[in-house]
Symmetry: C2
Amino acid sequence: MLSTTTPALRRVLNAAVAQFARHGYEGASLAGIAAYAGIRKASLYSHIKNKDALFLAVFEDALKIESQFAHECFEHSNTGLPGQYYCESLLARYADSEHFRFLLRTSYIPPESLFHELQEGYETYMQQLLADFTAALRRHVGEAFSDQDALTLGHAYMGMVDSLHVALIYIGPSRFEARLNALERLMGDSIARLVGERHD
Amino acid sequence: MLSTTTPALRRVLNAAVAQFARHGYEGASLAGIAAYAGIRKASLYSHIKNKDALFLAVFEDALKIESQFAHECFEHSNTGLPGQYYCESLLARYADSEHFRFLLRTSYIPPESLFHELQEGYETYMQQLLADFTAALRRHVGEAFSDQDALTLGHAYMGMVDSLHVALIYIGPSRFEARLNALERLMGDSIARLVGERHD
DNA sequence: CAAAAACTACCGACCGGTAGGTAGTTTTTG
DNA sequence: CAAAAACTACCTACCGGTCGGTAGTTTTTG
C-alpha cells in the first residue's frame, strides 16, 4: 500500500483490472497489461514492484470499491426483503464494474502463491456483507425470531449470493433472473413463516 | 472421443485429471502430467494429440462419471426432501473424487479456447440434474402443485447446488454443513408451504 | 538566475526459465 | 519381426524480470 497514486499508476491499475478480469492471473501477461495502458512492459516497473504486487494492489482497489458498493445497496433501500436490493443490483453491476468481475474471477480460484493474502481480504468482504444482511434482517423483523434463526438465514443469504455470483459467470441474464426470483421466493417464504405472517 | 482405451492411456488420463484438478488447465503442465503417469512428456503424444484433446478427454470422462454418480444418488434414496441425499453426499464426494474436483475447478472458469465445447457438456450435466430433481419432486408431492411451482423450485435447487459447489471450493467443511442445513431448511419450508402441510 | 544535479517515465534489448510440441531413435511387446 | 510406446534431444514462443540508457522535468545550489 503506497502513499500517492499518480495518474500514470492509475492508468496501469485500470489496465490491470481489465486484463486480470478477462484472462485471470496467469492468463494476463504484463506485456498485455502494459499495451492496454499504452506503454511498454519495462515501463511498468517504474510504477510497480512485480506482478504479484500489481495484482494485490488491484485486489485491494477492487475490495474497497465493491465493498462500498454493497454497503450502499443496503443503506440505499429498506423496502422489500432484507438484502433484496443488493441481489437485484448484481446483474447490472456485473455488466458495469470491471472490479466486480475481477473479484468474482479471482476469488473462487485465486493464484496459488497469493492464496492466503486474498483469502483474508475476501473473507472480510463477505463478513461485512453478512453483517449488513443481519442488520437489515433485524430491522425488518425486530425481535420476531431468535439469534439462531437469524444465523441460519444469514448462512442461507450468503449461499444465495454465491449462487448468484456463479449464475453471473456461466449462465445468461435470463436464467439469472429466473434463479434470482426463485431464491427470493424461498427466502421470502421462510422469513414469512418465521415471522408468523401467513399471507396467502 | 477415441474408440479403445488402453491401460497406458488410462494411466495418462488419471494423471491428467489429478493435475488439472489441482492446478487448472493453464497451471498443469504436460511434463507434470507425464511425470505423474510415470513417463516422459514426449511419450504422451503416443496417446494423445495435444493438450486440448487431453483436456477434453478428461472432461468427457469426468462428465460421465459424475453424471452417473448424481443419478445414482437420486435413485438410491427416496427418503427426505427431493435431492437432499445428493446435496448431503457432496462433501464426501469432493474429498473422494478427483473427477468431481476437476469439474468444479474447470467448469466455472474454463480455458478460453475450449469454452464452447465445455459449456455444452456442462449444460447437459446440469440439465440431467434438474430432470432428476424434478422427477423426485413429483414423486414427493404428486399433483400437489403446478408446473410453474415445480419450475421455480427447480431453479432454486440448481442455485442451491451451485452454492454448495462454491462452498466446497473456498470455505471449510464446517461452514459447508452450516450452509447446507440453512438451504435445506429454506427448501423444506417452501415445499411444505406449497404442499399445504403446516407442521409447526 | 542559471548551471548542475536529481528525479520521473519511458524505451529496446536481453536474460534465464518454462511452456507445448516435433523429429528421430531405441526399447518393449504381441 | 513389425508395430506400439517409450526415450533423448531439440525447437519455437512466450513468460516475468533486469539492464543500460535517454529525454524531459523538477529541485538544488553557487
